[in-house]
Symmetry: C2
C-alpha cells in the first residue's frame, strides 16, 4: 500500500504514496473528518475543489445510521454517497469510550448503549471488521481501547494488553473475511503516558505486522508535551516502509511539528468544528470572525490564502453572516479552514521535496505564534 | 426600467426585460429570498450556477443587522456582500406586521419593537426610503400597511388609505433624495379581499406613477382562490409597460398560473425553507426526503432535473444526511429547489416565446397534481 518516496534531509519528515483501489494519496496528508459520510456543511464538490485526497468516516456512527442493511444494499459508503476517492474508517472505539455513558469492557469486547436512543450494543474486534467490510473503507482501523487522560498505570496496562489482543483478533478476522483483497488494516499503538507501555504496545503490534501504524490515545486532553512524548517513544520503533498516523491530531502547528517527526497521516475535527463556530485558521493563528473588529473589514479571512472564499468574500460580510448564525457564513469559514489544512499539507510536501523542512517548520511556527516554536 | 418584449398568444403571459445598474433581468422571473443579504445555506457561486438573475433582501432585517452604519461604510449591500447582480428590497412593512408583537400604526408611521431585543423602533415612509438608499437596492418597495387575512372592511379601508398616502410620501422622498438616479420605486396594491378596495388602491397608485406595481397583502393565509381573485381585479387596471410583482407568491403551480395572468415577478421563501426541512420540489409535486421509502433509492431527487445535485447525489444518500440533520443534506435540497424554481422560469419564458403557454401551463399543472389544474 505504502511507498516511501523520500526522506527529508533536515528533519525526519518524509514523502510517500498510499495506493488504494480508489486512488493514490500523496503523504503527508490531512483527512477531512466526515463522521457520517459527509464533511459537515460541505459538499463533495467542495472537497474536490479544496484538493482533499480522501475522507475519514466513522464506523460507530455509520453503524447506528444509516446502519449496515442500507450500507450493504448501496454497495458500501462509496456506493451510498457517490464519493469516489479513498475512505479511511475509525473503528468507533474512541466513540464507544467518549459518547457512551454506560459501557462495560471485557476481554471479549465492549457492551455499551447507543448515544442516540440508549439501545444496547456490543462491539467485538470481529464485529467491527465485519462492519468495516460492509462500509468498504480503503483503510481500516481495528477496535482498540483508547486510554483516557489522565490514566493510571494499571488501566494503561490493561488497555495495551487488550488493544494487542484485539489487534490480533482483528487481523485474523480481516484475513478470514478476505478483506485484504481491497482493504488495508492498521494497528493502533496505545500505552497512555508511559514510555515502556508505549514501546511494548508498538512492539507487540509490529509482530502482528500491519499495513500501517497509528498512534492512538493522544489528543484526549493531555498537555501538548505529552502528545509529542508519545511520538518520541514510538516513532523510532516503527518501520520506515509503513505509513504512520497520528490519530486526531491536530492544530496546524502540531501537524507541522509532527511531520518533522516523521508522521504521514492526520485527521482532526477542528477545521470543520471551528468553522461552524465562526473561527478561522490563518497563517497568523486563529481569528474569531464574530468579533466587532471585523465589522467594516473589507479584507479576506486570510490575506495569504487563495481559496474560493478568500478570493470573494470579505471579513465584514462573513462576520455579518456569522453574527446571524447564517449557515452560509459557517459554510464559508469551514471551506476556508479545510482549504487551509489541505493547502498546508501541499506546502509541507513541497518543502520536504526541496529539503527545506526545518526552515519551513520554523517559519510557520513563528508566524503562527505557536507554543511549539523553537521547542 | 421595463421593456415589454412580447405578449403571448394563448394567455395573458408576457416576456420583458428589466434594466438596472447591476444588469438586465429577463421576465417573468423568480427572486431567491436573501433576507439578511444571503440566500440561506447557499453561496453566491450557487446562485450563479443555478442561474438566479437577482436576489431579494429585506429592509427591516438589514436595518437591524448589520445596521445602516455598517451598510453605509461598505457601500450598501452590494459592497458589503460582493453580490454583483441586482437586488430588490422589501420595505420591511410585512415584517413589522408579522414579527413585531407590539406595534402602533398611525398615519405618520409605525412604532414597533425589534423582534430581536424588544428595543423601540419607528418606521415612516421617509425613513424606509433612506434605509433603502443606504442598502442601495436596484428595486425599492415602499412602506405599506399589509392587511391580514381575514380583514374586516374598516381595517382594509384604513390599509388602502394609509398605503396610498405612504406611497405618495415615499415617492416624494425618493425623488428628494435623488434615489431615482439609480434605483426604481414600486407601488404596492392593497385592499385585502374587497374588489372595490383593490381597484381603488390600484387607481390611486397609478396616479402617483410608479416604475412597477406589486400586488401585496396576498399569501397571508387566504385560500388560493382569494389570492387569484386579487389578480383578476387588479391586473386589468395595470399598465402594460410596467412590471407586475405578485408579492410572496408562491408555490410552483401558483407561479405557473399567475404568469398566465400576466405577472412578471415572484418571490417566495418556500424553496429555501422547504429545503432546510428536507422537502424537495419536483415536477410531480413535493417529496419529503426523510421518508423511509427513499432509504435504498439510488435515483436523483427529480429524474427530470439536470441540476448539480440531481446529477450526482442519490435520494438514499440525501435521506441519510437529512435524517441526521446534516447541513450538507439540507443545502443540497435547497440548491435543487432553487434550481427547480429558476429553471421553471426559464421554461416558462421559452414557452411564452414560442406561444405555447396555455399548453405548457396545463401540462405542468396536471403533472404537478395541482389543485389549480383546469381551474
Amino acid at each position: 500500500m505504502f511507498t516511501l518516496l523520500k526522506k527529508e534531509k533536515t528533519t525526519k519528515a518524509r514523502l510517500g504514496l498510499i495506493k488504494t483501489d480508489h486512488g493514490t494519496i500523496e503523504s503527508p496528508f490531512f483527512m477531512p473528518v466526515g463522521t457520517n459520510g459527509t464533511v459537515k456543511s460541505l459538499r463533495f464538490e467542495d472537497l474536490e475543489s479544496i484538493g482533499a485526497q480522501l475522507m475519514l468516516a466513522n464506523t460507530y456512527h455509520l453503524y447506528l445510521r444509516p446502519g449496515c442493511d442500507i450500507l450493504k444494499e448501496a454497495g458500501g459508503l462509496h456506493g451510498l454517497s457517490g464519493w469516489t476517492k479513498p475512505i479511511l474508517t475509525d473503528s468507533g472505539g474512541y466513540q464507544v469510550f467518549s459518547l457512551s455513558k454506560l459501557r462495560k469492557i471485557t476481554d471479549d469486547g465492549v457492551k455499551f448503549r447507543s448515544h442516540l436512543d440508549g439501545s444496547p450494543l456490543y462491539f467485538t474486534p470481529e464485529k467491527v471488521m465485519e462492519i468495516e467490510q460492509i462500509i468498504g473503507s480503503d483503510m481500516v482501523m481495528p477496535l482498540d481501547e483508547c486510554a483516557p487522560y489522565p490514566c493510571d498505570r494499571k488501566q494503561a496496562e490493561g488497555s495495551v494488553r487488550r488493544t494487542t489482543d484485539w489487534a490480533r483478533r482483528s487481523k485474523e478476522h480481516f484475513l478470514k473475511l478476505g478483506m485484504n483483497k481491497n482493504q488495508h488494516l492498521f494497528g493502533i499503538v496505545q500505552g497512555a503516558t508511559y514510555q515502556d507501555l508505549r514501546e511494548q504496545s508498538a512492539k507487540e503490534l509490529l509482530e502482528l505486522d500491519f499495513e500501517g501504524y497509528a498512534i492512538g490515545g493522544v489528543s484526549v486532553g493531555e498537555p501538548v508535551e505529552e502528545m509529542f512524548k508519545a511520538l518520541d517513544w514510538v516513532m523510532p520503533l516503527l518501520p520506515e516502509d509503513r505509513p504512520r498516523y497520528f490519530m486526531g491530531i491536530g492544530l496546524p502547528d502540531q501537524i507541522v511539528k509532527a511531520v518533522g517527526e516523521g508522521i504521514d497521516m492526520f485527521d482532526c475535527v477542528l477545521p470543520t468544528r471551528f468553522g461552524r463556530h465562526a473561527t478561522a485558521f490563518t497563517r497568523k493563528g486563529r481569528k474569531i470572525l464574530r468579533n466587532a473588529q471585523f465589522v467594516n473589514d473589507p479584507g479576506p479571512i486570510d490575506e495569504t490564502c487563495d481559496c474560493q472564499v478568500c478570493r470573494r468574500y470579505s471579513r465584514a460580510y462573513i462576520r455579518h453572516l456569522a453574527n446571524l448564525s447564517e449557515i452560509t457564513g459557517l459554510t464559508l469559514i469551514t471551506y476556508h479552514n479545510l482549504y487551509f489544512y489541505v493547502n498546508l499539507m501541499k506546502e509541507i510536501r513541497t518543502a520536504i521535496q526541496e529539503d527545506r523542512y526545518e526552515d519551513f517548520q520554523n517559519t510557520f511556527l513563528k508566524e503562527y505564534g505557536s507554543e511549539l516554536y523553537a521547542v
